[in-house]
Symmetry: C2
């Protein structure tokens, strides 16, 4: 009843994101439908998931697939970011090849962003590209990482440095799966939803201010918020598939956010990605205010909404000590989105009026960071 | 003077293959020209090559690049097929990332097919795709593997099972480099050139019958033959970039050829790829004759040309013993180009009239192989 579809229209490929409650119960028919567009042969899948998702949801999904005579090879990796590694990638690829899956067979990513990135990367390079379907199980994956075709693993030199652009045949986002998500993970995903409002959809931000609490319970507001988020992300990806321009707006809050994640050594006890982005967005707005682009009251309004949801908004919300200003600046300069002496930031001229600022002076950033660190010392 | 250009026109990308003698001496300007289309910044390269090519040609190429202020990071891997591995891929990627090369910087593959496949794959997955230029140093690489955008490494489950389709910014084929190629390697590359004639260019086959010996010495006939080969391959790739149809014609001689390579355990003392393809093409023509598609005299004509060049043409030209018919059939069935019970072969209806035959009966192949093995027992 409540199932909605968002279509991602790319130059050479078009696919559906199906969003709604209890979609696992119809996964077999959705998968067959998405694949039969290309291939009428018997459906054979590699189902890549992690230990957490497997213990909660694998049995019910496998039962549904078996009932519908879909040959399934489950591949379970350790939950957590450390699985985005060369060694885990090789294990996944070996299992898929050992099962003799072919190009027309399909890899399913059943999990959060780590599983989507890892399984999507494997699918993109096995036999130069197998079919691929995303079944995201976290809010962040449903609204962000499963849409847009970025895949990848981490390197000792940085996150997501090895990967491909690879689009799925479809995305199946079962909103009921989010009921088993730890509340902190849900809030972190919610921060990225707010980001979409702050980029260029003030209406959506206002809608979230009004209905945000409802998104946390499983109902039509949750589906509505995910649909609106996917529509936004799909539109931006359609206009700039390989991030040569506008797609960079999605990095709002991410330059400061990555700086904080690295400064806290990606210690999830201190900070998780969506929390870093929430604080990063506040910092990006405060920095915009310092450059006289917006009034400080806008930052206060956004911070108030984050607080009402239970998200962190400032450096002092991060447990433990942070490094000094010079170290933070080095982290920013190392970030892959920054090139040489022109620092690129996503700044804003008002609510939902973000823009790509390519010539931000390192001195201005340094002064801003000194001031922020002084506030917590 | 003798430099020729073949343009590869793909849907979303267009690039030049530059062919001629002494191109290393102008490599810097060619590279800058190809990259400046996209990027006006200082040129930074990772130069991936193997121990053989490095000892022969690296010094002169590096001197040319340094002279032209191109920052170059040389990466030298062991010569040989064993470098198309996950572990060597990881070493290459780590060195490129350690040197802090970015998306707009470039990976150069300076070597034969192994280096092109390995370096191209690395370029395609680092930062989701760096610039890439091929500088092929073998005849096979200049006419075949450097054109078309296939990259990849081998798996324990088969060759080239992990890789991408990834097109270079340009290909620079210096015909003088072929003077240091071992004659057996040159002949093996020549076999693939003949293949292009046999697929659908009877004129080119006749040209090779007349001028083939000239191709072995460095002069305008060599350049001409490489240009005609690249034109052919570029045209077929332009019509079918991802091998969903016509591109399969390029597998003429390859189903039998792969069977023989696997049967001889890829032992280069017994058989190298081009030799296997030469024998495979003769077998494909003999099989076509057995199916009454062509007259046996055509096979004799092709065999005579191969012999005049010094290429093997029959099973008894392979040193050592071959497995029995059943084992050979299993190898054919395992080949990735074969799906289930319908064996796909490239057969022919005459000189340069090859076609994709999708429903070849396994029994007919079995009978044919029994007969061929009986001839050498």
């Amino acid at each position: 009843m409540q199932t909605k579809t968002v279509t991602v229209k790319l130059d050479k490929h078009c696919y559906d994101i199906i969003i709604g409650p209890n979609l696992i119960a119809q996964a077999a028919s959705q998968i067959k439908h998405a694949l039969n567009k290309k291939d009428p042969h018997p459906t054979r899948l590699a189902l890549v998931t992690d230990t957490n998702v497997a213990s909660l949801h694998l049995e019910i999904l496998q039962a549904e697939l078996i009932k519908n005579k879909i040959h399934t090879v489950p591949i379970i990796v350790e939950a957590g970011e450390q699985s985005k590694s060369f060694s885990t990638l090789q294990v996944v690829i070996d299992q898929i090849l050992a099962a003799r899956l072919e190009r027309g067979d399909c890899v399913i990513a059943f999990g959060g962003g780590v599983i989507g990135d890892l399984a999507g990367f494997a699918a993109s390079i096995i036999r130069r590209g197998m079919n691929f379907i995303q079944m995201p199980t976290t809010l962040l994956a449903q609204i962000d990482s499963s849409v847009g075709g970025k895949t990848g693993i981490n390197s000792q030199y940085g996150k997501n440095l090895i990967g491909t652009f690879y689009q799925p045949q479809c995305v199946i986002a079962d909103t009921c799966l989010l009921d088993t998500l730890p509340p902190r993970e849900f809030r972190a995903g919610y921060a990225e939803m707010v980001k979409y409002g702050l980029i260029n959809q003030p209406d959506f931000f206002e809608w979230l201010e009004k209905n945000g609490q409802e998104v946390f319970s499983n109902g039509p507001m949750r589906t509505e918020a995910i649909v609106r988020s996917c529509q936004f992300k799909a539109a931006i990806v359609a206009r700039d598939e390989q991030e040569t321009g506008e797609r960079a707006l999605l990095n709002l809050g991410h330059t400061f956010g990555h700086m904080l994640e690295t400064a806290t050594a990606y210690d999830s006890k201190r900070l998780i990605h969506g929390e870093a982005v929430a604080i990063g967005m506040i910092l990006a707005h405060q920095f915009s205010a310092q450059l006289n682009l917006i009034s400080p009251t806008l930052t206060q309004r956004i911070g108030a909404h984050f607080k009402s949801i239970g998200l962190p908004t400032q450096l002092k919300d991060i447990p433990g000590n942070l490094p000094d200003t010079e170290t933070l600046m080095t982290l920013i300069a190392q970030d892959k989105k920054v090139s040489k002496n022109n620092l690129t930031f996503i700044l804003t001229r008002g609510l939902g009026q973000s823009f790509i600022a390519k010539n931000v002076s390192p001195e201005a950033v340094l002064t801003f960071l000194e001031q922020k660190l002084a506030e917590i010392r």
